[in-house]
Symmetry: D2
Subunit: 305 residues, 4 copies
């Protein structure tokens, strides 16, 4: 199975002020991402507030991103939900609509406590899009599914034919590496934490990754990988350190989904508010956010439209 | 606002073997519950695998239960979901369909960390059914929303006009009692743990409750309240102790949603399997379950059709 | 084995301003507790900052309390520590010094993850005082030992000859009751949460308990049990509700160990500061604490010297 | 302040079969560690079961290690305990006995919830050995002190004169790096997870570290740093991957404190059993452990006496 090389972006979902989804910015959004070095998008995931969308909205977003995608730009559709039936329908739809691949995180409810439960959940969904690679999206801090990933790989290996790998959004580079080495490296281990791309490269990973801060800081994150590849450790460190500074800022503003989405407005691409229960950035907070970004010269280094 | 007196049942959702929802048993189910002393149902909640149903299935279940409800039998529809838009649509539908009330638990994703987030979430949903009482369903072990409930009451009091109270499924009888006393007792505090009805009665609560094991053990649970009311502490204790024995058994079979649902088959009302990711009771487990229930003479004391 | 009837107090440890332990107040402290209806003390526990004392200090405190104890006033010595050798020495010392009983909580480090580990830990300590009843002090919120207590009873039953029961400081009245019923009620289940004495009485427990707020609110807590015994539910509820108000206040001041200890000064028995890492009540906080207590007429209802 | 270059070992504490501490192996132990490339020891920490030792035992161990230390071999004494008074006495003793430095983890009881509490705890202890560098040992998985470390550095900076840095035993290389960069790199950030030395080197850290598996696998772990320094990434990766294999094995045997300690016997240095509540390796388990180690050719690559 093809392995992803380079960084995929997890885009935000644009909303109108009244809360309806707004499809208009998507073509420009896709072009901007490609211009800044991103290789595709992982839509309707956590950054995209996928769980907060209706099934119809998720389908519409998938169709729109697929149509808007420039050449050589992958669209992976996150289809996970608490309802496995709905997820399977979304998988079928993604394949029919022409997605490059699909993914699903563990449902947050009921909380998954056994590897077998997770395997069965993924199996039923992946079977809905048999022609597409399926990625498990491991993000236990969000859904409580703190399960051992090597054991999960052993369980799905040979059982889910289109299982491609894991989007690994967790701190353990030890477990990441054990998954990477599993079965002679047969699965695609996408690194999922922008703050540690360089350490992951060192152990032989991060050939491919999915980022959230890539939306506005993708150029620098792509730069880490490029610098590493040409043996320029000093630049790689400088860019990784800088990218952590950016993450420090969004941590002051309720993280990437809320604070990061508002940064998009500040760099010229207003994507609107977040859905309830997220608490939107107030005008005062927006001013503070701009100030903190200016202090690190962000607007001279960020993604450009 | 009217306060609920007596026990409401949280029914299981019947499925065919192929996994489709099965509406056929519902009229007999409703009649059985009323015959055994239950005052209504709280449908599409955790026992009902509500989060694992599509929006269309949830609406269909609501309509069917409302039609099937005998006189003086309340139908409360759980409309909570990760997507507040969908929840609001479900609330509107419930009101139009003739439900007695609605309820919603905190979404498990994104995990609610602030009382204000929860208040806003409930506010948007409750506004969809302004003519119906809205109950917040507090079950933090399931969704991680370990928020202080007195502060929550202070926040929604006067802000959500149709806020009725809390279905309180948590161990702290201290916090339960503080909520019960709040504002001179203005809100309806439905007790939500069948294992501690008697202790809750002692502090002045449990006038109303919502149970999960009431599906098959409702007669005994209703009996606790009746015995207490007539001052027969000995019988109340005996029935509470017995009800704990029943709960001990289901704890050996993955709890009420999985093990409890299979008990329904054993007492003559087969409601089919659970949805993925739940792991269904195997035939061997079913035999063991029957044996453990026989050991406590369950079939002589359980609900009758 | 004798079961404890009535409430035992968990006293604070008096310190001089320089942080040395202060033995002077102990005789008056013991007399005050007995005068207000307490049946004994459980010293060097969490309220007593036992883990923050040296071995020598713990022994000195044990000797002093035993000497100061009036007739019919039990002294139970908490001997738990991270070092099982030291705990055993403390157990031996307690027996030699004339204590009525001993107790130990699970060590917070290493975190206990298996019932067998806990059983072995208790076994080694209990063997140091074979002539005294040994109580396991279950307080998982403090030490992370969230282990199933019925299984623990099964494991120590017949293995630790002087095992007497559990000081149960946890919210699950379901598990408490299952422990109470275990083996025909052979073990002494001491209730350990002052906020829920009445609910516990209703299920047949709380014949004996160990309190922390009994230091200053013991009269009312003892009153709950007395009212219940004479069938006066109304008074029992009133006193339980009032006792919760007192607990509401200490929750604003870092809980019983910090806020509660300062209340002792306000009722006329200054016991000095807390040990690091506790953050002591500041003079401003003390004023606020006094004010909140006055608002609930505490000084007219509290323990009297 | 001098920064540590290279790896420090956290030794196990030798016990006789009867559970008494055994000082005899220590000189040979120290020599073996130096021979295999270690730069010193961090004694009485978690690997050393420090919390399970009496104060007298801890002092005796400190004196013995200091006497046994070869030239250019640092002895850092962990002095943390639940009793800050005892920790301070241990700090004073360590300085008088000639230790190179001291360290303390956050107490597991009471659980530290505020940075200020931790700062005060460290301040009182560090003041006991003003001539020695003090290291905070951050290992939140063991003691629940999940506190933000950059904020902690801000709090102690300029307040604890002999504060040297952090032994960082946690997965977040993001936070590690932010601490490393704090104040122009003024503090010594000792890396504390043997499974991720290489990733940490990549971001500019791990110049110094403290290991637990270094007791038997130190040669390979030291080799990672040496290979990295000479630009040999391939060897560094090979050694890091191998070191993870060793860690995979000990994870099957209750981790380093229990399983790792028994490996010492298998490589020729029997250090005896663990203290209660640890469950010792059984003879059957020991055979299995040997077998799993043989499968990865461990005995050809391990530390040599």
């Amino acid at each position: 199975m093809e392995k992803i090389i380079g960084l995929i972006d997890a885009p935000f979902t644009p909303f109108y002020e009244n809360g309806d989804i707004n499809l208009e910015p998507i073509p420009a959004y896709a072009a901007m991402l490609q211009k800044n070095g991103l290789k595709g998008v992982f839509i309707n995931g956590s950054s995209g507030e996928g769980y907060m969308l209706t099934k119809e909205e998720r389908m519409l977003l998938a169709e729109t991103w697929i149509k808007a995608a420039p050449e050589d730009f992958k669209v992976i559709v996150h289809v996970g939900s608490c309802c496995v039936r709905e997820s399977r329908q979304l998988a079928e739809h993604a394949q029919k609509a022409g997605a490059w691949g699909i993914g699903a995180m563990a449902p947050p409810f009921p909380k998954i406590g056994r590897v077998e439960e997770l395997a069965k959940y993924c199996e039923e969904i992946a079977a809905g899009a048999p022609a597409l690679p399926f990625y498990y999206y491991h993000i236990p801090a969000f859904n409580g599914a703190f399960l051992p990933m090597v054991k999960f790989l052993e369980t799905v290996d040979g059982r889910i034919p289109n299982f491609a790998g894991i989007k690994y959004t967790f701190e353990s580079l030890y477990e990441y590496n054990q998954c990477r080495l599993y079965g002679g490296g047969k699965f695609d281990m996408l690194h999922g934490q922008d703050e540690t791309i360089l350490p992951c490269l060192a152990i032989g990973g991060a050939q491919g990754g999915i980022g959230g801060t890539t939306n506005y800081n993708g150029k620098n994150l792509v730069g880490i990988i490029e610098a590493w590849k040409r043996g320029d450790l000093e630049t790689a460190r400088k860019l990784q350190d800088y990218s952590q500074l950016v993450i420090n800022v969004i941590c002051h503003f309720r993280g990437n989904i809320v604070g990061g989405k508002r940064i998009m407005k500040l760099i010229g691409m207003d994507l609107g508010p977040n859905r309830t229960p997220f608490q939107n950035i107030t005008p005062d907070e927006e001013e503070q956010l701009r100030k903190e970004l200016e202090e690190i010269q962000f607007f001279e280094h960020c993604n450009t439209l």
